[in-house]
Amino acid sequence: MTAQTHDGAHLAAPRDIDGLRSRALIAGVVGLVGCGLGFVFDRDHFFRSWLIAYLLVLGIALGSMALLMIQHLSGGAWGVFRRVFEASSRTLPLLALMFLPIVLGMGTLYSWTHAEHVAADAILQHKAPYLNVPFFLIRALIYFAGWIGIAWTMSRWSRRQDEGDMSVNKRLQYLAGGGLVFYALASTFAGIDWIMSINPHWFSTLFGFIMVAGHGLSALSFTIVVSTFLSRRAPMENILKPSHFHDLGKLSLAFVMLWAYFNFSQYMLVYAANLAEEIPYFITRISHGWQYVALFLVVFQFIVPFLLLLSRDLKRMPHRLIWVSFALLAVRYIDLFLLVSPEFASTGANLHMVTGAHESHFYVHWLDLAAPLAVGGLWLWMFFTQLAQRPLVAFADPYLREAMESTGGH
């Protein structure tokens, strides 16, 4: 294990990755067939389920890209995970493609796309300069252009770094600085566009932070899962140490706490102020069965992972940590489910202020299981394809020595 060797051949991905790739592809295709059936027989539900699943994998990719940029800026001991982050962020072109169903489904997802609906609603008329179809599409184009541009450039310079060109180090830092600013702004507005505007009356200024915390949490959990797999095989078995998992575990703990902090703040402040324009969002989610989903999240996206991740031993044992991370990814999906689905519980119009409360009961649709299979499978296939293309360690990273020597602490 010599990090200084200027050739990544011995750091190639293990062969098992091909097996994972094909399995992911099969799962994706099976899911796609399900989604195809859904598209034909229950189009409205298909779009909703697709949106939820899509947001989960998008969060992993964007969170990984943000962590990668932070790593370029701050150095630090998680440089050994750089290639996982890079592979995740290189999936963004596929994610842009997978956004197309959402564009197709705008009419059923977003009530503000209907002119007659807007005409009857003074608030929506006020928001029309922002919430209109052309501008929505232009914004989506800007987000994806920016994200893909950043990911692609970082990936290119990373390859040049592998080839021994140290002049990119500085440029990577500059790009990361500007890139983080773009990431934060684009993620905020994407959150407003794709999630918040499902209920176009509702708003919360904290929403961008909640998006970013979700991205970070899903990206860290995913990275732990993948790295645990890699750590059992050559070449990473000698490189990834308990201390590296310890660091990711600590960051996961921090993001679990941040997620809870943001969500608690939002809930408490809206609850205490009890204003007509804000409170319906939470009334929807604390009644008609949805409250159990919300409570489930309190317990399983905060209390249980928080208590588990406090343990130093657990964080240093990848074979145990991986289960917490798996669970966190699953819970992330439920979190996104709760962000999206209750708004559609009242059939037809999602404005629960208008329709009767009796139609708002909790439901899970079979497409909510098929869509994650399709989106997740295809995305994983892309991820593993990307991961296998480069040496698994960014061996020319200027911080790598520090990262490999890290013993972890506390």
Binding site: M166, S265, L269
Partner: protein, 462 residues
């Protein structure tokens, strides 16, 4: 002797301690500031200035207690003004200390070592200054405990637990207590060093009592490190919680400009931002005056600037967010609040704070700026001004024109408002000067772990 850190390829990172230092030179240099018999004349000048303003504070408090809080300018509709502005400003400043001592310790950031001690002291003094405002705002501070703390009483009277003001009492008092414990715990080994090096019997006795019988045995160190880590763990949530609770004071209300869900993280970022600005404001003259450039190196200055850039960007994001949602909410009162901030009678304050906190901080992106000590000193002072203005704008512009135009009015502080504010700056400066004269302003024992000598024996701490 070789420099302690190899610069990375393609970049030169300044070291956390200048080359050539040994255990002895570190102890001599830092301990010498305290144990010398000759107090530098500049110290007297600085302390004297602080002390004069402290006297102003005493006069103000005297007048306040005799006359009542009517000497302040706040009145309906602006019932909260300088008292809360200054409270939030000081509490915010305190945050850098806790962040440096607790979070950077947990993240094993070695560069915290030479700035943690005086940043923690700064936290304590800032909390002391902050606490004066709500206490004196009660008008009868000797009754404040009776009003603020819930205690079982025969009348069955309790404070309103649903009010964030009561949460504030707990948050701030917890914060003060934990910060004090953390600071004192960190001091113990250094106090023992001073005890052992003191020349006069009286000094030795004082440091002897304060060092709690520290002998530096392996067992002492083992337990000490454990205790220090635990305290760091306890302090970490406080960095977020205290200013979040302060933000709740505003955000639970229904007032446009106060009720925003983004307030907690946005206030916390602002607190850390202003706190680092204050650490910078103090560190730059300190290192110059006591020739501590070897210990508070350009690495520290760079890193502090970067923390200010990150947190300042979050604050700027908060401003943009508020402006966007004032429109997006489609709520006419929100929209009015924003236009009143931008074009109303206090617009100058709003645009000044935007110029500082959103525009000026972009300078921190540039290495040339981060290398320019004089400029950084000026900029850090400006950040303190900008963050004070931010609180002024949030508090006053939201109150002075609320839902009912018939109750609109302007707010202007009186001379006693200014006397109270500058007085607390005097208190802060006086305490800080006393601290650097009588206690080691940098953690000697921690500095000794980062000299090259320490690396030979044990590579890693913690």
């Amino acid at each position: 002797m070789a420099p302690p850190e190899q610069p990375h390829q393609g970049r030169v990172t300044p070291p956390v301690i200048a080359p050539g230092h040994t255990f002895r030179s570190v102890t001599d240099k830092i301990g010498g500031i305290v144990l010398t018999k000759r107090t530098p004349i500049g110290w007297f000048v600085g302390f004297g200035i602080g002390f004069i303003f402290l006297l102003v504070l005493n006069v103000t408090i005297g007048n306040l207690l005799v006359t009542g809080i009517g000497i302040w300018g706040n009145n309906v509709p602006v019932g909260w003004a300088f008292d809360i502005i200054n409270f939030v400003w000081w509490i915010g400043i305190g945050h850098a200390g806790t962040l440096i001592s607790a979070i950077l310790l947990l993240f094993r950031q070695q560069w915290r070592t030479s700035i943690n001690r005086f940043a923690e002291a700064m936290t304590l003094f800032a909390v002391a200054c902050a606490a004066m405002f709500p206490l004196l705002h009660t008008g009868r501070p000797w009754l404040a405990a009776y009003w603020l703390f819930p205690y079982p009483n025969t009348m069955g009277l309790w404070p309103q637990f649903r009010s964030p003001l009561i949460w504030d009492v707990f948050a701030v008092s917890t914060y003060g207590t934990v910060s004090l414990l953390f600071w004192f715990t960190g001091l113990v080994p250094d106090l023992a060093t001073l005890r052992d090096r003191a020349q006069s019997k009286g000094v030795r006795r004082i440091f002897g009592v304060l060092s709690l019988g520290w002998r530096g045995s392996a067992r002492h160190w083992h337990r000490y490190e454990m205790a220090y880590l635990l305290l760091a763990g306890i302090s970490t949530p406080l960095v977020l919680s205290v200013h979040s609770v302060v933000s709740f004071d505003f955000a639970v209300s229904n007032l446009p400009g106060w009720h925003a869900t983004v307030f907690p993280p946005y206030f916390v970022a602002g607190a850390i931002y202003s706190g680092f600005a204050m650490v910078m404001t103090l560190a730059i003259p300190l290192r110059k005056f006591y020739h501590l450039e070897d210990f508070i190196t350009m690495r520290h200055i760079h890193n502090m600037t970067k923390v200010m850039l990150v947190t300042g960007m979050i604050v700027a994001y908060g401003y943009a967010n508020e402006a966007f949602f004032a429109w997006y909410s489609a709520n006419p009162y929100e929209a009015f609040m924003m236009s009143n901030r931008m074009t109303g009678p206090y617009a100058l304050f709003y645009w000044t704070l935007i110029a500082i906190n959103a525009v000026m901080i972009q300078l921190f992106w540039f290495r040339k700026v981060r290398d320019n000590i004089v400029l950084l000193f000026v900029l850090s002072l400006l950040v303190n001004v900008g963050m004070w203005l931010e609180r002024f704008v949030i508090i006053v512009t939201s109150l002075h024109r609320d839902f009912l135009p018939s109750s609109w009015d302007m707010y202007a502080p009186t001379r006693w408002d200014f006397a109270m504010f500058t007085g607390t700056i005097g208190l802060f400066l006086s305490l800080f000067f006393l601290f650097i004269r009588f206690l080691p302003a940098l953690a000697m024992f921690e500095m000794r772990t980062i000299v090259p000598e320490a690396k030979m024996e044990h590579e890693h701490r913690g």
